[in-house]
């Protein structure tokens, strides 16, 4: 049942537009956010379906493209390590298992990080002309990220089986940990979206920053155990997310659960703040777009 059908029976909606910031009325704003989130479900699903269909109808290799980049990355690192150009410390796992799981998980995080800005920019013509719940854009991006993530994890699991890694009962927690990873990506991505929609510099700078962040996360090599680099790894909130997921996937007893949970909690708070900012910023951003 869509929101529209229900509103047939309810008293007429009154919309008031003033220069005042909606942040001045937090209760009203929160109510609006939740109502729009509910109302945007159908639209989000439609938009996600539209994008996925369009994407795969026009690409002969379809889903394979989602895997292409992480697999290429894996190949590069296998070469780098195998040829002895770079010596990588023992990971506790066979190196192919370590690097494949790392790059695939990182690509899921990057998908989630890129989605809010990408989706919002792609929807510019719609945003500039039509009043629809803006949450639909974000939700649609999230649906696509989750679907892609499911495919990637399935492929990863199959590849790990092939490499001789058999997951145990703790694999049941993978979806939950995956949600944590996507939550972090979405929260960080959404945070830079408002400014990123104004200045394209943000998108580029973020891409570079993420490249650096990857090397501060145990993606292609394990965290160093001592020195200032180890300190940086400890401060990186993404490290526990990737590490826990890899542990779950490979049947290693999970490491620091407390760190994982506190990062998830912080990211959830950050997501709410970023969502509020996104919503408040939208009329200002649309003003600077051409109609």
């Amino acid at each position: 049942m869509s929101a529209n059908e229900r509103s047939d029976m309810s008293p007429p909606v009154v919309r008031v537009y003033t220069p005042e910031s909606p942040l001045r009325q937090p209760v009203g704003m929160l109510r609006g956010m939740l109502a729009d989130l509910l109302a945007s479900r159908e639209l989000a699903w439609r938009l996600a379906l539209r994008d996925l269909r369009a994407q795969y109808r026009q690409a002969a290799l379809g889903l394979l493209w989602a895997l292409f980049l992480p697999l290429a990355n894996t190949a590069v690192w296998l070469f780098v390590q195998g040829s002895g150009i770079v010596a990588i410390r023992d990971t506790g796992l066979p190196y192919p298992v370590f690097v494949l799981s790392g790059t695939l998980l990182w690509s899921i995080f990057m998908d989630a990080f890129n989605a809010p800005l990408q989706q919002s920019n792609a929807a510019r013509p719609m945003l500039a002309r039509i009043n629809f719940p803006r949450e639909a854009i974000l939700l649609s991006g999230l649906i696509q990220v989750l679907l892609n993530a499911a495919v990637k994890v399935a492929v990863l699991a199959a590849a790990l089986l092939f490499l001789g890694v058999v997951p145990d009962w703790q694999a049941a927690f993978i979806p939950l940990a995956l949600l944590g990873l996507v939550l972090a990506g979405t929260a960080l991505g959404l945070l830079v979206t408002p400014v990123g929609m104004l200045y394209t510099d943000i998108g580029r700078a973020a891409a570079v920053a993420m490249q650096f962040l990857m090397f501060l996360t145990p993606v292609v090599y394990p965290a160093p155990t001592s020195g200032w680099a180890a300190e940086l790894f400890r401060l990186n909130p993404l490290a526990p997310l990737i590490q826990i997921l890899r542990d779950l996937l490979t049947g290693v007893p999970p490491g620091d659960l407390g760190a994982f949970l506190s990062v998830c909690g912080a990211m959830a708070v950050l997501l709410c703040l970023a969502w509020t900012a996104y919503r408040a910023a939208m009329p200002i951003l649309i003003e600077r777009m051409s109609a």
Binding site: N4, S7, Y17, L23
Partner: protein, 402 residues
Amino acid sequence: MTDTLVQVENVSKKFCRGLRRSLWYGMRDLSSELAGSGNAGHAALRPDEFWAVKDVGFALRRGECLGLIGHNGAGKTTLLRMLNGLIRPDCGRIEVRGRVGALIALGAGFSPVLTGRENIYVNAAVMGLGRRKVDARIDEIIEFAEIGEFIDMPVQNYSSGMSVRLGFSVAAVLIEPDVLFLDEVLSVGDIGFTVKCLNRLRQLAQRSAVILVSHNMQHVSSFCTRVMVLEKGAITLDTEDAALAIDRYFDLVRHERQVSGTGAAQVLDLTLQAGAAPLAGTAPIPRGTPVGASLELEVGAGCPAAEVLLYIHDEAMAPLVCFPVQDAAGRSLLLPPGRHRLDIPLGPLELNSGKYSFVAVVRDPDTHTAFARVQGLHPFRVFSDATYWGRIVRPAPTTHEP
């Protein structure tokens, strides 16, 4: 039902001319917004800014259809975007009651790769309409759009007319708004489809409050119960007499005078006679009035002979009427070198209401080389109570026996 559905009070909105500055102001607005102070803090103009909409106020009731007219950059679309809640006013207050329908971006969310049928669902979802509503009426939409068997073809293979028809049909069939915004949507498709759209909109308009933005005065004249003229963001006329507003709109059209040709002849002056008297000032000429032109020109000594043509152009500088100047025997009137004054009868002015101007051409009768061509001469307006679809309007009194 005479309830007020749209209430606009002293609404203003500023815009910035330069892109770099505009983005920077956007950045500053963003930070003050997130600090919670909103747009209220800076109601004054910053450098490079101007009022796109200034101090606009009106109220609109159910059953009313308001036409917003004005030239490009007058603020019509900005006002509509504020009413639609896309951007917030810098000053003032807007209240909109009931369900809002907007036919502004037709076919919003269309993906070129998907079929027409799939796109109907996407488009409907953007307008907040669920799958079940579409399922129930999809045949009606396809029929309205006159798409037929092409409905299962990707939209990228549609002609532009087809995709616009489909976009319009989704909205026109599905929405049941209390408040309806229309921005230039009727100027698309062929005339048969436009008439169908107008009829559908008339149906919708009966039970809603409509705001129509258009440059097409026929639509405004036939559709609106009230018209506002916007000039530089401000309302300069708000009237229920559409003819008056349309005349005002045409009054704002500028016809630039432009001289070309070899310079071997010169057009010195053109005056108009409306009815029996010379045309006074900028008063409009009622349609049907007999008019005459008095043209003064000088043919240079280098020209053995010159012929004269007078044209009437519309506001888009498209030629509408040509008056080849002839002698009593019906041959082209040949002028020898020297100064001439020609009194040219133009007959009853049968033009649709609008703004027009003359073009005078003095040319070589054999080679048609233009000695002088002056466009934008003596702009004038034609006034009539009704604006019709034709460029030329000639009422036809007809005897009728039952």
